[in-house]
């Protein structure tokens, strides 16, 4: 088999590309999947800053056991609700799919666009409408129910803007339904000639699995929050136990979506890692079919484990046992991925560029997140750690250590493709390292805090928990610096001319065959695919100094 051809190529700076038209109108009315990806990139970054600001203020308050720094528990309660709602519905769920997925899926499968470009733009507008309501809530009162909206607190006792929040979540849900629907149809019908299912990049497989959850799970959340809005808005009883309702039913409906939603956040991240590792190990990925199938397995099993959020809610003991056993099954496909990624490094020729550092960090953090997840699936242990900081630590290892690391890794990996620019490699490595260290310092102490018994959503806490909380806050400030760094040097890179070239990493994916930034119609010719993905060869690469053509000419 021949080596990958990375022929040097002239600068593409003068050519027309998808970014060439600079008018505002051309951006707001674009149906180009790449531009919509950029619109999402900007909007999710803004929401990340909002959610991050809320987190910083919470960590600041938690430096002391007394509620003295923010003044009032109501402020704190609004902050953690804001943090949860914004980070989950407005950052994590859309982050990788709507930014990278949007940008890359058509490029990866050799299509000119998604199947429904107008629907794609509509999904962004729907997201913006939902997001605007969220910002409106933030400015005019806030919500204090937590992102879980448990009844009867949310419907009868909270004095905050719960109806608005329910509407915001309801609307934003449709944005992700539209994105998921678009992806599934695109992956089914828009593949270029020769792009069979098992030649699809694993990034595409992961997005296929994610989209299934988006399409099938989100409507149930929509109905749950719609019922909350109706109950509260009209003052009638739907989940009110005094009026024949059942508050635990709400929890079932809520978690039926919200547990699979965790997989909406992590699966695309796994897809990103599956692209980065073979590229920088310069060899084919190990166990392609198992990684692809494990994405689907996670999506499917994910729909039948929601009850593990409710072990102490008063559901029956046998329900608890069934949900516990099913939850352990998720460990299998997750382990398949981790072991296959690790094996991919065997006999590779490994380079440690920024995306690879993020990917290696992901493997470590996701492993810890996954293994602590098994503790939470264990009935007896979960009884003790449920609703404590142990849970907080666990899901941040998955969502921040996992999904956000992968998101940043992906942004760094495809930044030259998206913008045509390289960034400072030194600062990139520094950011990956800072995020990894800051993350562990922030969240590892929370495992200890959780087992000690510090409940989550606490404005004041017992004084013996202080030292660990101070450690966590100190770590958070390092983490914040780690997140601020890419914002700075990535934006700075935009000042240079776009000289990254088609394929700065010498990668094999179809997206690397087109210009950086790509032209509006992606491909000049319909590509024909005649081989499996990740056709790297470590032996041929040895001695390749390559990393191609960016910058140097």
């Amino acid at each position: 088999m021949s080596a990958v051809a990375v022929e040097p190529r002239e600068s593409v700076a003068v050519e027309e590309n998808y970014l060439s038209d600079h008018t505002v109108k051309s951006w707001l009315l674009t149906t180009d999947h790449k531009r919509i990806g950029i619109l999402y990139l900007i909007s999710v970054t803004l929401f990340f800053l909002v959610g991050g600001a809320a987190a910083s203020m919470m960590r600041f308050e938690l430096m002391t056991p007394k509620g003295d720094l923010l003044g009032s528990p109501d402020v704190y309660n609004r902050l953690f609700t804001t943090h949860g709602v914004v980070m989950i519905f407005f950052f994590l769920v859309p982050s990788i799919p709507a930014v990278l997925g949007n940008f890359l899926i058509p490029l990866m499968i050799g299509a000119r666009d998604l199947a429904f470009p107008i629907l794609n733009l509509m999904s962004w507008y729907v997201y913006i409408i939902g997001g605007s309501i969220a910002i409106y809530i933030l400015m005019f009162g806030g919500v204090d129910t937590g992102w879980t909206f448990y009844t009867p607190f949310s419907t009868m006792y909270s004095n905050t803007m719960v109806v608005h929040a329910a509407i915001a979540v309801f609307i934003t849900g449709f944005s992700s339904i539209l994105t998921g629907l678009n992806f599934i149809v695109t992956i089914h019908t828009m593949r270029a000639p020769g792009m069979s299912w098992f030649r699809l990049p694993l990034f595409v497989w992961a997005h296929y699995a994610t989209s299934l959850i988006m399409v099938l799970g989100t409507p149930v959340l929509a109905i749950a929050v719609a019922l909350i809005a109706v109950e509260r808005g009209f003052g009638i009883g739907i989940f009110n136990p005094n009026l024949g309702g059942d508050p635990v039913l709400f929890q079932h409906l809520f978690w039926f979506y919200s547990h699979p939603a965790v997989y909406i956040m992590i699966l695309p991240g796994m897809g990103v890692i599956s692209e980065i590792i073979p590229c920088f190990a310069r060899r084919p990925i190990f166990g392609y079919r198992f990684i692809a199938a494990s994405s689907l397995a996670i999506a499917v099993i994910g729909f039948v484990v929601w009850g593990h959020h409710m072990f102490v809610s008063g559901q029956s003991m046998y329900a608890g046992m069934v949900f516990s056993m099913l939850s352990f099954l998720v460990a299998v496909p997750s382990a398949i991925k981790v072991f296959n990624w690790t094996s991919t490094m065997y006999k590779g020729s490994i380079r440690f560029d920024t995306p690879m550092l993020y990917a290696l960090g992901f493997i470590g953090l996701f492993t810890i997140g996954g293994l602590t997840g098994m503790m939470l699936s264990t009935l007896a242990v979960d009884i003790h750690v449920h609703d404590t900081y142990f849970v907080v630590a666990h899901f941040h290892y998955i969502m921040v250590g996992g999904a956000v690391m992968a998101y940043l890794g992906g942004i760094h990996f495809w930044w030259p493709k998206i913008t045509g620019r390289m960034y400072s490699e030194l600062l990139g490595k520094l950011s990956a390292l800072t995020v990894f260290i800051g993350f562990n310092l922030t969240f590892f102490p929370q495992f200890v805090l959780g087992y000690l018994g510090m409940p989550r959503r606490y404005f004041e806490y017992a004084s013996e928990f202080q030292v660990l909380n101070v450690m966590s806050t100190a770590g958070a400030s390092i983490l914040a610096a780690g997140y601020a760094l890419p914002l700075f040097y990535l934006l700075l890179s935009l000042r240079q001319p776009p000289t990254a070239g088609k394929n700065p990493w010498g990668a094999t994916g179809l997206e690397w065959q087109v210009d950086s930034p790509p032209t509006t119609h992606n491909f000049d010719f319909t590509p024909r695919i005649d081989r499996a993905p990740y056709a790297y060869s470590p032996v041929a690469i040895e001695g390749f100094d390559g990393y191609s053509d960016h910058g140097s000419h």
Binding site: R112, A115, F116, L181, V215, T218, L227, G244, G245, F525
Partner: protein, 238 residues
């Protein structure tokens, strides 16, 4: 060798000789129609989960409060519901005939059948409207005027039933039938647009794919009602 050997269709060439109704992202009409139909099926999957969540909630409440729900359900007008079920089933027939006509390229028949389908859909809404009006006069609407009907008051008292749970039935009833009616209104508007476009000969051919996709949606609305009718109207029938 390059990963992707570049082949045939040049993009510019593609754009010029394609039919004007082929959107730029598709290679050919077949791919386009396949996408539309798959897209609608996925949308319907979403809708199934949407109504599925509601029906699950309703089923749980029916199990928790069987007697109140059965009693409350007796206030619904079974004959009118039955008529409405017939009307909607017939509308599905006319919709299917419209799809058939469009596949055979009979534009006039398509328009005729679509209009008939819309008329049946509207009839359903009118009947539903009368039912709701009657509910209003009988003070059955939660939040506005709900109270236990006089003829059932004694039974409620005697059996020690909880009026709030009867109200719960009506909350679910209005939520579900309202949502269904909303879907139906959207369907009628969609068919009106389709009929207009077919009439104006806007589609190349007679819009077989578009009519088929609209048909899928219409049948879905019909099926939802087929579930709602027995669950809401017939649970207390013996």
């Amino acid at each position: 060798m390059d990963t992707a050997t570049m082949a045939h269709t040049n993009v510019a060439e593609h754009a010029s000789d394609a039919s004007p109704l082929l959107l730029h992202q598709f290679d050919d009409v077949h791919q386009q129609s396949e996408s539309s139909i798959l897209g609608m099926w996925l949308f319907l999957a979403t809708e199934v989960m949407f109504f599925g969540g509601l029906l699950t909630a309703f089923a749980v409440y029916r199990l928790l409060n069987p007697r109140e729900i059965a009693l409350a359900s007796q206030n619904l007008n079974v004959p009118l519901g039955c008529v409405n079920t017939m009307v909607l089933l017939v509308s599905s027939l006319t919709m299917a005939l419209a799809v058939r006509a469009s596949q055979l390229g009979r534009r006039k028949d398509v328009v005729r059948m679509l209009l008939l389908t819309m008329i049946f859909g509207t009839m359903f809404l009118v009947v539903k409207g009368f039912e709701w009006r009657a509910d209003y006069h009988e003070n059955l609407i939660p939040w506005i005027n709900f109270e236990v009907p006089h003829h059932q008051a004694e039974e409620v008292h005697e059996l020690g039933l909880v009026p709030a749970k009867m109200e719960l039935f009506f909350i679910m009833y209005f939520f579900m039938t309202g949502l269904h009616a909303l879907h139906l209104i959207i369907g009628i508007v969609m068919l009106a647009i389709m009929a207009h476009l077919v009439h104006r000969n806007w589609f190349s051919g007679s819009g077989a794919v578009q009519i088929e996709v609209a048909g899928l949606y219409w049948h879905f609305i019909d099926i939802v009602w087929v579930f709602l009718y027995p669950l809401l109207y017939l649970i207390s029938a013996h």
